[in-house]
Symmetry: C2
Subunit: 310 residues, 2 copies
């Protein structure tokens, strides 16, 4: 039995609760296929559109009436784990039952530790929340210490750092459940980012890339495989050019060459490649696959996706 | 080793994230004391003020801008489990470490099944969300099918049913973690209320009383004890009268007599008594205790609280 961490993109989950409850029905099918094929699956997922929606709703509501509290970003992430996990675990349970399996499903509210000295904290890059005009942006910088950037010509947005995951606080919990044969949903949205401070963990406003968090999870669980599900069937070089090539497989050194040549889009395919590399690096038995959600099973059978090995 | 389900009131958790992060530091101390004394503790908690705040923020934000989605009540409950669980698990972990224990803590996003034929669905009683004027209340009744009542002379509010819990969907998950020695936070806010429909569970707008959900959890886990923590030290009869008596202990038949005599306030002490009764009923080895948060340890040593037996 192979142990597989599957990373599902937040864009596969929809922008509203009604949208999400429909989309998860579709998203869980290929995941349950992997379970049915005898794999031990651990599910990680993104939360970009969802945590944005939660954050924006609290911001809007607080601006209208200050009696409605502001919601810090780590708490918004924790809410998104409950919100997405509830729909995912429900849809997974139904699909498992329909496929004749009696596995149980758990969503674990998961904190992921980052290093407070991570250089990412000096260079916040991840835009979150709503757009503001320049004056409001300046005011938020001076009153709240936010870092603001102009984004997509639509105005100014807050940016937060995207540090690398160094540990998963609830790892033993996840291991216990996986070893008992349960299907675990964890590190939602890359996990709630926390830093260690003495004997406690403290939430920080940051976004951990969900593919990096999934790679860290796969490493700590000593998984056989990391499957990153996205909207495209394969990793491509010379993307959108006449000489575009879809990769069936690639080694780390081949990927390093392609990265140096600038083939992969920052904030899109590049972090997936980096996460895949981080997982397989230095281990001959580990495999990472980047594939489309709809062809997950095909990808595990070598008929789709890009297979990344050491 | 005794297995103890502890039910913590949502009012002990505060009304905003900053308030909650402070309050949980205090609330976890007596719970960790019980762990230190060698008990196997499972923590349930309320979410009244918190799910109200979440629901209200989404309502306000949606009213201002319909692009911000409405958030159905079960989804608000799922968010509250993530939000409260994150703070509780963090505070518990810190307090456990400070007390020299290395137990791990897990928050489980928990669905509690209710019976769609529960008579409570015919008589919604639980007010949720914001206050409206009469015209808006009438409009919500006709457009959304909400049931509205006049509440506390402050206007009209939506009411949802408060059905009884019949099963806990994630029970096997909870058992696996408890058996492995982890501290589990579950049935937050009484659980996300779902009804079984074929092979799936469907969320319903309802509020399951957290003390009833805790009693059901204690029953299904075959716990030795249910400890309901609240703001008062003991159950009282002739409450607030010159002949007020604090009860050190009571049997089910004694409580039934007091209930018939109208000693316990509906929506306040009465559901705690009913939940305690439901747990100990018919079992000579089960004990329920109603006590104040600050005297939880004393209550287990018989020095505080009201002990309820069959």
């Amino acid at each position: 039995m192979r142990k597989i961490v599957v990373a599902l993109g937040g864009n596969a989950l929809g922008h509203s609760p009604l949208d999400q409850i429909e989309k998860v029905k579709h998203a869980v099918k290929p995941i349950v296929e992997l379970v049915k094929d005898g794999n031990e699956v651990i599910l990680a997922h993104g939360n970009g559109p969802q945590v944005g929606m939660i954050n924006l709703s609290f911001e809007t509501s607080h601006e209208l009436n200050s009696a409605n509290p502001e919601m810090p970003f780590p708490e918004c992430g924790a809410m998104s784990q409950g919100y997405i996990g509830y729909h995912l675990q429900n849809a997974l349970l139904k699909e498992l039952r329909e496929q004749g399996m009696d596995q149980k499903v758990a969503t674990i509210v998961t904190q992921v530790e980052v290093d407070e000295h991570d250089p990412a904290f000096l260079h916040p890059t991840k835009p979150i929340g709503r757009f503001y005009d320049l004056d409001t942006a300046k005011e938020l910088e001076s009153t709240k210490g936010y870092q603001m950037i102009e984004d997509a010509n639509r105005g100014y947005r807050r940016v937060v750092p995207s540090p690398k995951p160094v540990n998963i606080v609830e790892l033993d919990i996840i291991k216990t459940l996986v070893d008992a044969g349960h299907l675990v949903i964890t590190v939602g949205g890359g996990g709630i980012p926390v830093i260690a401070s003495g004997k406690e963990y403290v939430g920080v406003p940051a976004v951990i890339d969900k593919d990096f968090a999934s790679a860290k999870l796969a490493e700590l669980l000593d998984a056989d495989m990391l499957v990153i599900l996205t909207a495209v069937d394969k990793v491509k070089i010379n993307f959108n050019k006449p000489n575009e090539i879809s990769l069936d497989s690639a080694t780390i050194s081949e990927l390093d060459k392609y990265i140096a040549e600038g083939h992969f889009l920052k904030g899109s395919m590049l972090p997936k490649i980096e996460a895949a590399k981080a997982f397989v690096n230095g281990s001959s038995h580990r495999i990472a696959i980047i594939a489309s959600l709809d062809h997950a099973r095909d990808a595990l059978q070598g008929k789709s996706g890009t297979k990344i090995t050491n």
